[in-house]
C-alpha cells in the first residue's frame, strides 16, 4: 500500500534547495503537497513543474502573512498531516563575526528561522491534532543544522536561530505528543543549496550532499514518525494493530 496517497504535506521554502527537493519527491510519491515561497514567479514555475501541487506566495517571516498562508494550506488540502518548516535565512548576506552583524540581520534570521515556524505551527496545530485524532498521525519537521549544536565562528545569527528552533522543537514535542502530534528537528547535513552557496561561496559542490538525497532521508524520518494506517475499501482509516470499531 502506498502510504503517501492522501498524505497532506506543507513545505515552506519550497522553490529551491531542500524544500524544492521535498516538494518534488513527496509529490512524485503521491502525497498532496502545498508549498510556500516568497517569489510569485518561482512559485508558479514549481507548481507547473510539479502538477497537482499547490503553490502559495507568502513570507513566513511576516506576521501578517502567516494566517493567509494557513488559510490557503488548510483550504486547498482540506487539513494537514505534515508541516515542514524548511524556509531559512542566513541572517547577514555573507557570514561575519557577531560583532560585525547588524541587529536587523539577526532579527531577520530569528523571524524566518524561529518565529515564523512558531507562528505557522501554532496556526495549523488544530488541523494537525485533528489528523492525529483521526488516526492519521501528524508531524511537524523543523529543518535544523549542525550550526544549531556547534558554535561555529561567523555563523552566529543563523546558528543562534537554529539552536533556538531546535530547543523549541524538543519542548513542543514533549508537550504535544499526548495529542498525537510529533515535532521533529533534523539536520539534513551540508547540502549543495543556494543557502550554502551564499554562506560558503567557494565550496566544491562535489563535497556537498545533494538536496535530493537529504530530502529522501527527511521523508524517511517523517514516515517513521507517522502511524501505519490501513484504508478500507470505503476509505475509512483504521490503525494497524487495532480492531476497527464497527
Amino acid at each position: 500500500m502506498n502510504r503517501f496517497i492522501d498524505l497532506r504535506v506543507a513545505v515552506t521554502g519550497g522553490t529551491s534547495g531542500l524544500g524544492l527537493a521535498l516538494v518534488q519527491q513527496l509529490s512524485a510519491r503521491g502525497a498532496r503537497v502545498a508549498f510556500v515561497a516568497r517569489g510569485r514567479e518561482r512559485v508558479e514555475r514549481v507548481a507547473r513543474e510539479c502538477p497537482g501541487t499547490h503553490g502559495i506566495v507568502g513570507d513566513v517571516s511576516l506576521k501578517t502573512d502567516i494566517y493567509p498562508i494557513a488559510v490557503q494550506i488548510l483550504g486547498e488540502l482540506g487539513g494537514l498531516d505534515v508541516l515542514i518548516n524548511n524556509a531559512s535565512d542566513l541572517g547577514p548576506a555573507t557570514l561575519r563575526l557577531l560583532g560585525d552583524t547588524d541587529c536587523e540581520d539577526l532579527e531577520r534570521a530569528l523571524a524566518t528561522n524561529l518565529v515564523g515556524p512558531f507562528r505557522l505551527t501554532k496556526a495549523v496545530l488544530g488541523a494537525l491534532s485533528a489528523s492525529a485524532r483521526a488516526g492519521r498521525g501528524a508531524v511537524v519537521l523543523n529543518i535544523s543544522s549542525d550550526a544549531a549544536l556547534n558554535p561555529y565562528p561567523t555563523w552566529g545569527a543563523y546558528g543562534a536561530s537554529k539552536a533556538a528552533l531546535r530547543h523549541l522543537s524538543a519542548i513542543w514535542d514533549s508537550e504535544i505528543a499526548e495529542q498525537g502530534v510529533r515535532v521533529l528537528s533534523l539536520d539534513p547535513g551540508d547540502m549543495d543549496t543556494p543557502l550554502h552557496a551564499q554562506a560558503v561561496p567557494g565550496a566544491d559542490p562535489s563535497t556537498l550532499k545533494r538536496p535530493q538525497v537529504a530530502a529522501l532521508e527527511m521523508i524517511d524520518a517523517i514516515m517513521a514518525a507517522l502511524p501505519v494506517v490501513e484504508r478500507d475499501l470505503d476509505g475509512a482509516l483504521a490503525i494497524a494493530g487495532h480492531q476497527r470499531v464497527q
Binding site: I56, V71, Q72, L74, L77, A123, L125, A127, R133, V245
Partner: protein, 350 residues
C-alpha cells in the same frame, strides 16, 4: 446584558452560568469549566477555522461600494469553493451597526462584482434582495489566495477594533470553512485539552461551516441559521457510539456541535459518519438524541442560538437564567461569558 467589546478569547474573569439537569442555577469561573466534566465524558467541539468572509469591493455596473459577507456553501469539499451564498451590504463597514448599514444596489443575475483581486458574478438572488448566490472566477488556488489575502473576518459594531484571523481562530481550528467563529470553542486551550486527557475525559471534533449570526435585516434574520454543511470524522462517530452504548455523557462545545450531531443521529443511539448538510432548527420541540450537555456563549433571547437552549431546559428555567445573567452583568456575544446547560429529563420541561 452587555456586549463584550474586547477580542480576548479567554479573559481571566470570564463567568460561567451553570444550569444542572434539575434546573438549579449556579456560577463559576469559566476557566474552571473542566471541573464540570467527569471521567468518561466525551467532549465534542467544532474544529472549523474561520474564513476571512467579509469581502469589500464594487458592483461594476453601478460603481457602488459593496461588502459581501459569505454566508453559506453547498459542501465542505475542498474543490467546491467557487460558489457561495452571501449577504450583501452597501457602503460602510463593521463600525456601523448592521441594521443601520446602507443598502446595496439592487442585484440582477449576471451582475459582476470586483472584490479586491477577486471577480464574482451574482448568479441569482435567494428570496431576498440582499441574499445572493455568488460565483467566483478563477482557479481554486486563485480563489483561495484572493479570499486569504483580501478578506477580513466578519465583524459587528460591538467590537471597535478591526479583527484579525488570529482573534477568531480557536486553538483547534482546522479546515477554514466557518463564516463566523464557532466561538464556544474559545474556552479551549491546549492546557485544558491536556488536563482533560489526564482526567480521562475524551475529546473529539466535528467540522461544521458555522454561518453568520446576524444580518441586520429582520426578514433575513428570521431565516437563520442557514443550511450548514458538516463532516463527522469516523473516529468521532465511533467515539460517540461507544459513549452512547456505555451511557457516558456527551458534551457539546457550542450550538453548531448540537446541530451537526442531532442532524446525523440515526434514531438508533448512533450517528452517521461523513458529510451532511444540517438544515433543521433546534428549539423547544426538539427531542435531543445525542447531546447531554452544552457549553455555549451567552445569547440574547429571540436569537436562534437562544432557541436551541430550549431543547436543554424549559422556558421557566431559561427565563430565570436570563434574569440572573442580566442582574450579574454577564456579557454577550462571541467574546463574552458562557453558559453550561445539562439536558433536563423531557418530562420536566415546560
Amino acid at each position: 446584558m452587555i456586549a463584550a467589546a474586547d477580542p480576548v478569547q479567554r479573559p481571566q474573569d470570564a463567568k460561567l452560568l451553570v444550569v444542572d439537569a434539575l434546573g438549579h442555577i449556579s456560577h463559576t469561573r469559566r476557566r474552571d469549566f473542566v471541573d464540570l466534566l467527569r471521567r468518561g465524558d466525551l467532549v465534542i467541539a467544532n474544529d472549523a477555522a474561520t474564513l476571512p468572509a467579509s469581502l469589500t469591493g464594487r458592483h461594476l455596473s453601478t460603481g457602488s461600494e459593496v461588502e459581501a459577507r459569505l454566508a453559506g456553501r453547498r459542501s465542505l469539499s475542498v474543490d467546491d469553493v467557487g460558489s457561495y451564498s452571501a449577504v450583501m451590504f452597501g457602503a460602510g463597514d463593521f463600525r456601523t451597526p448592521t441594521e443601520n448599514r446602507a443598502a446595496p444596489p439592487l442585484f440582477v443575475p449576471g451582475d459582476d462584482l470586483a472584490l479586491g483581486p477577486l471577480r464574482a458574478t451574482v448568479t441569482k438572488t435567494l428570496g431576498h434582495p440582499r441574499l445572493v448566490s455568488l460565483q467566483f472566477d478563477g482557479s481554486v488556488a486563485e480563489i483561495w489566495a484572493g479570499i486569504a489575502r483580501h478578506g477580513r473576518p466578519i465583524q459587528y459594531a460591538h467590537i471597535t477594533s478591526p479583527l484579525s484571523l488570529w482573534d477568531v481562530w480557536t486553538v483547534i481550528a482546522g479546515p477554514p470553512v466557518a463564516f463566523e467563529p464557532p466561538s464556544a470553542g474559545f474556552v479551549l486551550d491546549w492546557q485544558a485539552l491536556s488536563t482533560m486527557s489526564a482526567r480521562g475525559i475524551d475529546f473529539a471534533t466535528i467540522t461544521l461551516a458555522a454561518g453568520i449570526s446576524s444580518t441586520g435585516d429582520t426578514e433575513l434574520d428570521a431565516r437563520l441559521p442557514f443550511d450548514e454543511p458538516y463532516e463527522i470524522p469516523s473516529a468521532t462517530a465511533h467515539a460517540i457510539d461507544r459513549a452512547l452504548s456505555d451511557g457516558r455523557r456527551i458534551v457539546a462545545i457550542g450550538t453548531t456541535v448540537v446541530r451537526a450531531l442531532e442532524h446525523a443521529a440515526t434514531g438508533r443511539r448512533s450517528v452517521r459518519a461523513g458529510q451532511g448538510v444540517a438544515t433543521q432548527r433546534i428549539n423547544e420541540t426538539s427531542r435531543l438524541q445525542i447531546v447531554d450537555a452544552i457549553l455555549s456563549g451567552v445569547h440574547e433571547p429571540a436569537t436562534s442560538h437562544h432557541q436551541l437552549l430550549r431543547a436543554f431546559a424549559g422556558g421557566t428555567t431559561l427565563r430565570e437564567a436570563d434574569a440572573v445573567m442580566s442582574a450579574r452583568g454577564y456579557r454577550t456575544h462571541e467574546f463574552g461569558d458562557s453558559v453550561w446547560f445539562e439536558r433536563e429529563p423531557a418530562s420536566t420541561q415546560g
